[in-house]
Point group: D2
Chain length 344, copies 4
Amino acid sequence: MVEAARARALGLACGSLPAGHRNTITDVPGVLVGHTTINDGDVHTGVTAVLPHDGDVFQEKPVAAGEVLNGFGNSIGLDFVNEVGVIETPILLTNTFGVGTCANALIRRAVRGDPEIGRQGPTVHPVVLECNDGYLSDIQAMAVTEEAAEAAMDAAEEDFAVGAVGAGTGMSCYGFKSGIGSASRRLLLDREVYHLGTLVMANFGRAGDLRLPDGTRLDPQAARIPEAGSVALVLATDVPLSHRQLRRIARRSFAGIAWSGSFFGHGSGDLVVAFTTANRIPHEPDADILDRRVVAESRIDRLFQAAAEAVQESVLDAMAAAEALVGRHGHTRPGMAEHLRRRA
Amino acid sequence: MVEAARARALGLACGSLPAGHRNTITDVPGVLVGHTTINDGDVHTGVTAVLPHDGDVFQEKPVAAGEVLNGFGNSIGLDFVNEVGVIETPILLTNTFGVGTCANALIRRAVRGDPEIGRQGPTVHPVVLECNDGYLSDIQAMAVTEEAAEAAMDAAEEDFAVGAVGAGTGMSCYGFKSGIGSASRRLLLDREVYHLGTLVMANFGRAGDLRLPDGTRLDPQAARIPEAGSVALVLATDVPLSHRQLRRIARRSFAGIAWSGSFFGHGSGDLVVAFTTANRIPHEPDADILDRRVVAESRIDRLFQAAAEAVQESVLDAMAAAEALVGRHGHTRPGMAEHLRRRA
Amino acid sequence: MVEAARARALGLACGSLPAGHRNTITDVPGVLVGHTTINDGDVHTGVTAVLPHDGDVFQEKPVAAGEVLNGFGNSIGLDFVNEVGVIETPILLTNTFGVGTCANALIRRAVRGDPEIGRQGPTVHPVVLECNDGYLSDIQAMAVTEEAAEAAMDAAEEDFAVGAVGAGTGMSCYGFKSGIGSASRRLLLDREVYHLGTLVMANFGRAGDLRLPDGTRLDPQAARIPEAGSVALVLATDVPLSHRQLRRIARRSFAGIAWSGSFFGHGSGDLVVAFTTANRIPHEPDADILDRRVVAESRIDRLFQAAAEAVQESVLDAMAAAEALVGRHGHTRPGMAEHLRRRA
Amino acid sequence: MVEAARARALGLACGSLPAGHRNTITDVPGVLVGHTTINDGDVHTGVTAVLPHDGDVFQEKPVAAGEVLNGFGNSIGLDFVNEVGVIETPILLTNTFGVGTCANALIRRAVRGDPEIGRQGPTVHPVVLECNDGYLSDIQAMAVTEEAAEAAMDAAEEDFAVGAVGAGTGMSCYGFKSGIGSASRRLLLDREVYHLGTLVMANFGRAGDLRLPDGTRLDPQAARIPEAGSVALVLATDVPLSHRQLRRIARRSFAGIAWSGSFFGHGSGDLVVAFTTANRIPHEPDADILDRRVVAESRIDRLFQAAAEAVQESVLDAMAAAEALVGRHGHTRPGMAEHLRRRA
């Protein structure tokens, strides 16, 4: 349940398109999110799972695309996503050194669901995105387990927490404590209602560079260390789209990141996975030629705008709910909400 | 009319899939090809036009993709093709210095067809591929005119010549005289007949590197100069495909080029444009969401094989019909058919 | 001579890094810019030339890279630039339908400089970027000539005009009259002074979306038509860089575009060409192995920031100097400076 | 110790360039290769490690590049390699479900070498390539351990086994038993001797499609199942090269794969990692601007040819030394050498 303060509650709504009911990625029907949060001594980390639908993702593969602005990172799965144009597992987010273990967990879960994987049938291709939480958390402990990954998937539901939870537990953004943020936008196409939602693990930006929607800068007065944390983005929609269209839309999330103040620092990986729940490819189709629906390209600008706005708001949302933390080695990140209150 | 010797008539059939009726790109229903051939003193060049259908390509845009193995060249249009996933003009082939003029001709022709282009509506994006025929032809003369480009499009029909005609007039391949070649393969999907056809302007390969389908090498005993000529490929099909799938199929044409003996030399640009006649996007769609059909990815291998085989055979076809030429500066390229006859 | 109002004179400086002496791309030593402006009835267009150095660019090829955020357009040359990692002609900017003619002009000029091009030696690969000025100018007239392109190159010097000149003559941005803008940033590396400069043909953005450096929105109260104009960017530096590094830096110009208010609309091509004057490749090197210098990757963030800031300021600069224009069909674009004055 | 039959000993030398002394990737000075082989019941798998030099790879990062022809797979690390242009760990090869565990092993080993990784300093980015050995081995057992990965790195030396060892233990190629193969080519640049070497985990190709260097086909008379195994390639050289040049060279390995008979099947991932030992980037450079050496682009064709030839021969080498295996579920792959002997 989303109990923490949201960006919008702090007056930080972004853009002009209407938000969905929850203003999270789960406004896209069927999408579920779950967390495992690990706070244990110097370890502040976890796993966040995004499930594209509540069925077997391997059997019903959503059309998907990946996009990379800055490949500085350890994420796995984007080569496959862009080659075949689908995801076939849930998407896991975790810390930089948890990718291998989360990939193993996704493989084992898929095999449990379909014992022919890697036997009669082809293998399965996990998708894991990551950010480096080593400033606040003991990343060398490699504390993420396959059980933690499983638990995040098992916990997935429509109502989920934002802020310093799950994979976001140890993340920082623009010098503030950060975590997982989310937002959504509502769209009309052929007079029907659709949604585009985003979920962001925001762990980037130099202190002092944060820009609020009204243009003001917010500076936690922390050291201006290089931008070296990364940002991982998941974009979901129920608008019918092709792989190429999803990739174009994913690219617009870079506008949302830039609007929040960043110039995409060298050490800050910037990766997006986008999927549509409207086009699903059966693992074993019963025909050679399949029907699909796609948005007319000349109507795609509203999806571009929705993606940029929702990503910008998701970044602020990740900070809005995250309280100050004193982490590993006494490293501290202040909370943005507290900072805003004091400033007001 | 295809009167010249074809690769297959010389015993140079490639692969195992059945060829279409004509064994050319026009086995794909609706596709038309036309040439303008320019032989004037030291000038041996021209234009070849591939029309994806006999309607207005700007109003009915075939889904398309471009792929580049070696970007050494001056071709225009692939950025647009891969961004929007369509072609909106015929595809022109010409020499390296004729690209600008052919692009101008495509723009003027499109404007004649739709006077709102660049006024109320958006602009139009021409596609022109090129190879360097400067060894045999005076490329500095810049002899290709907009009229030549127009004439090639006006001449387009199902029966077209291969060999040293059109844009292929001054081309060389593996030390032999070359030109335009074509081939096709027939496919069954859901028990219906489809075709995949290729048209190649073959102007690459070092003398001595040519490999025939049975594995033997063919050496014109010419100087082993660097591979610096380029190859331009057009791939057409009536199988319903997405942009991503077309791009994957286009990539398999590299196997066909390699099978003919090349290792993709530094100075030899290698570009493909692939389109399907089965998915057309109206310039002004009357709905936000459109229906499309695509092949099931698990059935795509037969298209990969068809593309590789047809490209390999198209390369041989380009040489099969091209007779020896003494061109600019006394430069000479022997004919492959004559060479094969003497060798037999 | 830069006489028109500059962005900085209007209080629109961007970012925190110091600007160079002229605050234009020609702060990079050796870089020259020239314009040909065409105002003739309904035609308001032209050509702008960026010369990377005052020598023969074909003989001394600057290391270069291209980057595409949105390939919606007709530009030529980026495939070659990214394959071989150099430019070998000046860079020309013009309108969407002038690309072919400008490419022809670049070829002819190169052949005059080296009569072996396309004979004994390889061909030459022109670079032309474009935007669609069809709202204010009669683009169907195809008014750009090879002479206009030549004249722009011949006129190139360190002091050059910004605003509605050259290729910028008929351009619009965020509903305002726009044109060519420029900016630069000064950098210290190993205690030596370097510059990074940008030149932008700004022809994008919906009316109402323009954001000033202080975060306020500026709305000309014009129709909110789709973003369909494109933006073409040239980035120059004397910092020694590799192709890969230039490409990373070029990608940061997307932050500058986003900071100005855009979400990268569907119909708005977004292309960058970046080059360094510090690494030049001789056309005929006298050794197999060449020496090069590159910036240490861990110091590259200052170049990222410089690129983002300079591009943002170049966009504002393009509008700052451009006065209101009533163009083709009575279409009108107000001037931003006048709008700011009235607002103050 | 390379004791098994080599491709060359079977008369299967490829191309015309001279091989290095060992005709393996370790002809590139400093490169080392080690294996861990796991044969345990139905499990036939392992790990193969390629060390670019015998120092600390994290402290001295070789310039590197990745290239993907078919992204169907689970490999990790290519995004980073292409973003920053280096590798900073050894390269591990393993089965499709061993990637996560091998990545974990690489991270732990790097942290042991530099305890500041992920603390004061940035994180480390492992590179792991994979193929699916599920036909012969019980891939669901996930039998690869971090210890196995460590052992492969610890065992690395100049003399190493080829054939069904290490990661190659359970691999198949064109219906034959396969494994790890290697080859090298010797090059002269500026009158000095250089080497380019390749190591291939060959696990692709339909039975019947294998083509020997003389053009003949070799068919094990096995079921023609779809090409679904993948091929992972490592390319090393001591020629000084940039990231862009390494990527171009890596792309030529596709010619070698095609020459062996493949058309790059849908389910067969095809990935290359290429590095040069001649350009190493210190983790903490002591200057902002660094010296580098690169090959003149006009001399790069000999490297292209070397890569294509060495990859083709490496594929044959992987089969030459691999004896027939009856694996999981009674699945059998005959040995190519035995097949050739019987045929002779």
